[in-house]
Symmetry: D2
Subunit: 316 residues, 4 copies
């Protein structure tokens, strides 16, 4: 791995949006939309970009398209911020192959979930890491997936893994805040190990109590909002934290709750980006974009909340 380690700050701090993947069809990128989306996000002052995560529909995409996406994004970002690439696959060999493509394309880091198909014990997860990590060409963040409580790295497993060169942090999307506090306690003597929060509704409290930042889905839409909230929390500006946190929750009560199924968050986000003219809202199976009635509701929320492609307009 060697010199590549140097490109990532230790710990990586701030807002690293988990980019949605603009699609024209199930196996075709929305190339213009992708370019607009990357610039939209970077204009918000984010501290990195995470592609091919759960928000990026990675598990639904072909490996070919994933490779194309990594290439395009790395070229366009061109080292303005670090690019992290999710290597979500149930196969060791395929995950490693994704990692190699990411390195070739010039990415800065990897995001690596526990194997999630077979229920593995913690010693098996640790052995998996001992086999895989030395072969990874880039530094990697562990990843507790949303909705997979059985594929979580125990705090003690994270602690053991943090001694492997190449493991530089963790993204926790478990929504289990007690787990996160345990983990912070255990890792207190490793200030270079990044502890990053998945769900954006927990960003404020994460940073106020010592977490390093967030992988906030909403930062696809309103990158500046999350950067501002991160900075306010980091600066302990409590009044500002309260105001911005409230806006984050309001998004969660509106745009993310339009549909009937658990994927409403992702659908609402892609729909809103489409309403703002940033990129297509096509989704790969098994998900599908909102149809007319849901889109109308999202459009209404966008106006109500004052969301524009340039951020939130302050009413009055």
């Amino acid at each position: 791995m060697g010199s590549d380690m140097g490109r990532l700050a230790r710990p990586l701090c701030g807002i690293i949006p988990p980019m949605v993947t603009p699609l024209e069809d199930r196996d075709a990128l929305d190339v213009r939309g992708l370019e607009r989306l990357v610039e939209h996000i970077l204009a918000g002052g984010v501290h990195g970009l995470f592609i091919l995560g759960t928000m990026g529909e990675a598990p639904s995409l072909s490996h070919r398209l994933r490779h194309e996406l990594v290439g395009r994004v790395c070229a366009q970002v061109d080292h303005r911020v670090p690019v992290l690439v999710g290597i979500i696959d149930t196969s060791f060999v395929e995950a490693l192959s994704l990692a190699q493509k990411a390195a070739e394309a010039g990415a800065d880091g990897l995001v690596l979930p526990a194997p999630h198909y077979y229920p593995a014990g913690q010693p098996e997860l640790l052995e998996f890491l001992r086999h895989l990590v030395p072969q990874l060409p880039l530094p990697a963040f562990l990843y507790n997936l949303p909705n997979y409580p059985r594929a979580m790295f125990d705090p003690e497993t994270v602690q053991a893994a943090s001694d492997m060169p190449g493991i530089v942090g963790l993204k926790d999307s478990s929504t289990n805040m007690i787990y996160f506090r345990h983990l912070q306690f255990l890792m207190a003597d490793r200030p270079d190990f990044a502890l990053l929060m998945g769900p954006e509704m927990l960003l404020a409290e994460t940073v106020l109590l010592g977490g390093h930042g967030g992988i906030c889905g909403g930062a696809n839409l309103l990158p500046r909002l999350y950067v501002d909230l991160y900075e306010a929390a980091h600066a302990r500006d409590m009044a500002r934290v309260q105001t911005l946190h409230r806006t984050v929750i309001e998004l969660g009560r509106t745009i993310y709750r339009v549909g009937r199924y658990e994927s409403s968050f992702l659908k609402g986000l892609k729909c809103a980006l489409s309403c703002l003219g940033i990129c297509s809202d096509f989704m790969a199976e098994p998900l599908h974009r909102f149809r007319g009635p849901e889109r109308d509701i999202v459009q209404k929320y966008i106006e109500q909340l004052g969301i524009t492609a340039n951020g939130l307009t302050v009413p009055g």
Copy 2:
């Protein structure tokens, strides 16, 4: 209900410890231990006392013993702080009977979980409240039980219930912080409705972002620690919050994790109180006190952390 409503502050704020129930046997109180424990907790400056909750082993106790406990505690506290009484029973009639005993004994409020045996829909929970609440002789807090995700009040159900005279707040032990943030958002225009956190590891972030306080089990052992943390968070004294929060997490990594089963938290707490000479650690079936080896570990942690009956000794 009438005039009793007046005795409780609206909203009820601060630390209201969920008292463990000192037992000599499965149907006999440790009367001396109970007296010592009440005084120990009150000496910590707490803002209320909650008896007969999950930490109080209420579901394991006979109704006779529960009545005796309510009487003894109310008499001893003698209105120095408000006393809240859990009415945990799967039967409407039995829950109401517990509520009446609490009122007769001079308690100040009730804590009311959703019926948890049958999986009820949210409209059924709301109807349950519409039938029960008008008959309650004291104001009541809703209660999301730990370990019963199917018996949780949805945020919208809480909002509807908050319009019933007599429902004055909610205790959330679900550990689901995203739920709690949704709830706070919905209740933003009801500053008199108390939103209280169960798990003590989430106290700091709860209060920093607008929650009203905590029902912290550890406050049986170290009441002052939690009162101090509440006050620091309320005053936005971030340096002090960090220090005290860290101590709270440390308890969670030590005394509460000695046993093999999920009840370790409760067993460790009762064991520590016994080690300090405050009360008996007898537990009603199906739980049982720690045996020798576990007790030795708890004793070692007590010394290591500097815990005494008078609070934490500062090392150095």
Copy 3:
């Protein structure tokens, strides 16, 4: 316990309906309906009667009403078949008290779930039984509750418990057929220990492969159907088993699936009994009876399936 052991066949075999509790109000029995229901069930040739289980809404009823029910049912049955009484309570002391009332009223056996509020380990469950069983005045069946996977007796725990005098069988409502087969294998050398199935949809296969019978809720409505199916399965009359099994499944696809919530089974059953004029369909909180539209659907199914108070009419 002594001589009472003798009244129950070892093993208890056949159909033992879990009787619903006819109610006029939340704390008042429908006394005439109760009498009609008991006679209706006994007329079907059942091998026992189980009261105060999950189907009997026991957890929703006051202890006073439970005692009244036990008294009335035992008096009316008058030893024509064995009466089993559920002692579902989270408290050791209250469960024992229920057991004593059952013995005083002349019941023949008890049905005892694992304590289900606190998540107990298997050694804790076994210790619970070691404390409680010697004090029980009647022989008891262990009971794996529906919907409480964490309160299940492991096969090895059942095996250990079966050596305690007074434990004479198990009712399994877990719906986990692999669990049941493991249990049968372990208990193969104890042909006197009854292994009884809860969900009626699994009755046929239970008996075909060596189980002793079923606690079938539908036998409140159509007792003869389940008795016939039990006998056909016991006699290995496969053609008859197929026909009757199909009717059982059809009930599960119609009358039990009318409502929106998980309690539809219980609501549909009480509603059908009311439609046939056997007893009231009042339900104690948190459940409630079907309203008009759902009742109309149940009524339609009753006609469609040819259900009468005297059993199924054969079409044609």
Copy 4:
């Protein structure tokens, strides 16, 4: 799809073992072991062979190796029995690609799980099938995965899917027997639609009550045992069913329960095959083969049960 439909019996009945994948390394087949294993299984008189399922570690294998395996197995089987190929991938495009490779290699059918990464609603699953199935080059069986209750096809979804040309049956590994009975009832007018059971402990009751067969993991080791049990159940030879069923359960109480983790079934099976000299027990990450102590226990069970490469030796 056309003429390929004709090669599979409708419905497909009997025992179709889910073959384990003999590996020399994480990305290398144990080619000699594979040949021996295929012949070992076919010698047992099985009615088909299912490769690349959960038992075959498909999610842990590279696509390259999966393609190699399909080619080798189809060539070796050479149409002696139908070969079914699992297309387990979270991506529509990748699943389709696997299907095409299977068709090119000469396989007879596909086994298709619901997309299991994102929690999809039933209408989304049906839409997924409406998009994918017309593009499949071979007839397909739906597949309810083990351990993924959220990725199950509802009975009504199966019914709707069964009208699509190309969907010819379902393999249910959910272990939910009530679900299976509902499904059989709904599909009663479609006798050409195969309903196959995953867990072998449920094979006897599946076939006795009208199911079409089983995808029994244990048939890797003892193919004849499961063929005999299927035939006995089909012929309603209840005495023989009881004896053979008991042996199946005994395997489940011994060889499959040696390890600590949920993957013990798969590890025990591969270990036993290795002990008998049939193929390697190497497992791809995140699983790993049993080490010495566990292997010794498996070896002991093999002797105790009288298992040889030629089947069960009858003691005495």
